[in-house]
């Protein structure tokens, strides 16, 4: 068995391109997605149609101007009429149109259900939600009474307490990227090479030796896991620095991270072996790689909370080893929890490894 492990690791060491390919994609994905999705929506374009021109309408316009100068959530521009503004909206020059109706000032002063309308381009959900949220806050602030002299408020209020320091999206993505790097190493450095060697007839060289079926399987599995752990550790170290995780090298956290990476590597290697054990066509693992990449990564909750998924995707997530690996790594990276918090995740991954490896061993053929 150790001869197989040695052979695989010697080849791995001589393949810098393979090493680079397995690590570059997860790092690039971490940085690009982290900054692409992690920001606050700003610099939207809001058209204002003031059909009233009274003092309350002007006050509302001034408040919108303050947002444009301060938070810069949106920039404002005045339009003479609703038709012109909506045309600009449809042509993509605006993200939304705030219309102040002619009777707005009268209704405000008489406290008779004053309202303004926001017409928005809802084809981009993120943008329309940000704009609607900003306008809601604006209108709420418009209606607030002057600062009260009372010390004790009579209305119910909500105090929000954040248990952990602010987590930028790039840190949220880091656990998924670590698991992705392990998966890529398992597929590229393990599965694809395994099938290519089989197609070239390299395995015949081993099959004629007295090595047992179990030793062969263990040899491939252990060497695959070693490579995968190395990939995970590299991504963990690099990613921790890039994402700015606080106290990244705290010793106990490192130990726990290593355990999770090791168990995740075994689970993904076992899964890969089960998929490849009867495969012979070298095109198949390449085709499978893209499909697996998508179907395992996105349902795992690595980029978006699973609570938002439809039922069928939550079903995939339940069976997906990525889910448990990502959850365990999130607990350690973002919250620095102990083994208790990740016990179930580790248990699932260990059982998954045993089941997948047992099935692969049964299916593995000792002859051609």
């Amino acid at each position: 068995m150790l001869a197989i492990v040695e052979r695989e690791l010697r080849r791995f060491r001589r393949s810098p391109a393979l090493i680079a390919m397995s690590l570059i994609m997860p790092v690039v994905q971490l940085v690009v997605l982290g900054y692409a999705f992690g920001g606050t929506v700003r610099h939207l374009k809001l058209g204002i149609v003031d059909q009233d021109h009274g003092v309350p309408a002007v006050h509302l316009r001034e408040m919108a101007g303050a947002v444009a100068s301060g938070n810069k959530t949106f920039a404002t521009s005045l339009y003479p009429d609703v038709g012109t503004a909506v045309t600009a909206l449809r042509n993509g020059h605006l993200n939304g149109v705030l219309t102040i109706p002619p009777d707005f000032s009268r209704r405000v002063l008489s406290k008779d259900d004053p309202h303004v309308a926001l017409i928005e381009d809802n084809t981009d959900g993120f943008v329309s939600a940000s704009l609607a949220g900003a306008m809601s806050s604006l209108v709420e602030a418009y209606d607030l009474p002057p600062e009260s002299a009372r010390r004790i408020l009579t209305t119910t209020s909500l105090d929000v307490v954040e248990v952990y320091p602010y987590v930028p999206y790039i840190q949220y993505l880091l656990p998924g990227s670590i698991v992705m790097s392990i998966f890529m190493m398992v597929m590229i450095g393990g599965g694809i090479i395994f099938i290519d060697d089989k197609a070239r007839g390299l395995h015949e060289g081993y099959l004629v030796t007295p090595i047992s079926k179990l030793e062969l399987i263990l040899g491939f599995t252990v060497s695959g896991a070693v490579k995968a752990v190395l990939a995970g550790l590299v991504l963990m170290t690099l990613g921790t620095v890039i994402a700015g995780v606080p106290n990244p090298f705290e010793p106990m956290r490192l130990v726990r991270l290593f355990v999770v990476i090791l168990v995740t590597s075994m689970a993904l290697v076992s899964m890969m072996f089960l998929l490849m054990v009867r495969m012979s066509d070298p095109l198949l693992p390449r085709a499978l790689f893209g499909v697996l990449n998508t179907i395992l990564y996105f349902p795992s909750g690595a980029v978006y909370p699973q609570q938002a998924f439809p039922a069928w995707m939550r079903g995939i997530a339940v069976c997906d080893p990525f889910t448990y690996a990502v959850h365990a790594l999130k607990s350690l990276v973002l919250k620095n929890t102990g083994f208790v918090a990740i016990g179930f995740d580790l248990g699932f991954l260990i059982i998954f490894s045993i089941v997948a490896m047992s099935a692969a061993t049964l299916l593995f053929k000792r002859t051609l």
């Binding site: 197989i4 010697r10 080849r11 197609a199 099959l207 030796t209 002859t367």
Partner: protein, 328 residues
């Protein structure tokens, strides 16, 4: 009489409806160099894969090195060295590393491993390139690495599947020399498969001719050639022949046998020159045009045609378990 090194007993292999090897039996004596000769698709590789425990036979069995390939394949693996048809060395690793890995796979004891590897690399004349990655070596040198690798555990039986296929003539000759030298230095039984007549003729003590999965003939090269009628072979093609032209040819002086292979008439003759003169004279008298004429001494090609009825040429074959996109 000592037991044979290899005893093949009615071995058969079927892939679905296709019979690749059909009830073949033969024995290989200890210390013999035995050749399986036949075209691509004859069943040679399937047969050797069964003997080396890579493929399970459908019926029959073989005793290799005293162990049954079906009942005790691991015992067989311990006594044999195998050079498969495909180059199976790791290209990224050096010759030394390739031998080291296989020495460990075979359980060669740690002490003496280094000296053994050095000795083997010297035997195949690769000491100078021992630490170069195999991908930098030529095809012939790679084959020599594999020969050394196959001997790392001192097997008593050595299997080679098409050892010089794909090599240039100089490399082929170098590999033959290597095999002769190794055979002279070691107590080794060798079984090789080939579709090269000259290779079988030069290397083998006995040759089994295999075609369409069946054993057609088995003897030494000399006796196989002697069994073919005539010492010379004339290959001729004609145009404007009368209907009884074959009978005319059979009546020429020295002619022992006439066979037809497509447009070519093959005459086995005890006296090539006399037959040639008579042939030209008969063609002239009958108004027949001789389109082509070749004369040669009886070779294994003639032996092959004699036993199989056709020339040794590439043929379609059923897919084997290792036929994949990259290899084919």
């Amino acid at each position: 009489m000592p037991a044979p090194a290899i005893d093949v007993r009615a071995i058969t292999k079927r892939f679905g409806d296709f019979t690749a090897v059909n009830r073949i039996s033969f024995e290989v004596d200890r210390g013999e160099v035995f050749g399986l000769l036949g075209p691509n698709g004859a069943g040679k590789s399937t047969l050797i894969r069964m003997l080396t425990t890579l493929v399970e036979p459908t019926e029959g069995t073989a005793i290799v090195g005293g162990a049954d390939i079906v009942g005790d394949p691991n015992a067989v693996r311990r006594t044999i060295g195998v050079i498969p048809q495909a180059m199976t060395s790791d290209l990224e690793l050096s010759a030394t590393e390739n031998l080291l890995i296989f020495a460990k796979l075979y359980g060669v004891p740690r002490e003496g491993r280094k000296a053994l590897i050095a000795e083997l690399l010297a035997a195949v004349e690769l000491t100078q390139w021992a630490d170069k990655p195999v991908k930098m070596l030529s095809g012939g040198m790679r084959r020599r690495v594999e020969i050394a690798r196959g001997l790392v555990h001192k097997p008593s039986i050595f299997f080679l599947d098409e050892p010089t296929t794909g090599l240039d003539p100089v490399s082929r000759t170098a590999v033959w020399e290597m095999l002769r030298k190794i055979k002279a230095e070691r107590d080794l039984t060798i079984l090789l498969t080939t579709h090269y007549m000259d290779e079988a003729d030069k290397l083998c003590d006995r040759i089994a001719i295999v075609d369409h999965g069946e054993l057609k003939a088995l003897d030494s090269p000399l006796r196989l050639k002697a069994a073919v009628p005539g010492e010379n072979t004339l290959d001729a093609s004609f145009s404007g022949m009368p209907a009884d032209w074959r009978a005319t040819l059979e009546g020429l002086p020295g002619v022992e046998e006439v066979t037809v292979d497509g447009p070519v008439f093959r005459l086995a003759s005890a006296n090539g020159p006399a037959t040639t003169m008579a042939l030209m004279s008969a063609a002239s008298e009958a108004g027949v045009t001789v389109d082509s004429l070749g004369i040669q001494s009886t070779s294994l090609d003639d032996v092959f045609v004699h036993y199989t009825g056709h020339q040794l040429r590439d043929a379609l074959q059923a897919p084997s378990p290792t036929d994949r996109l990259i290899r084919r």
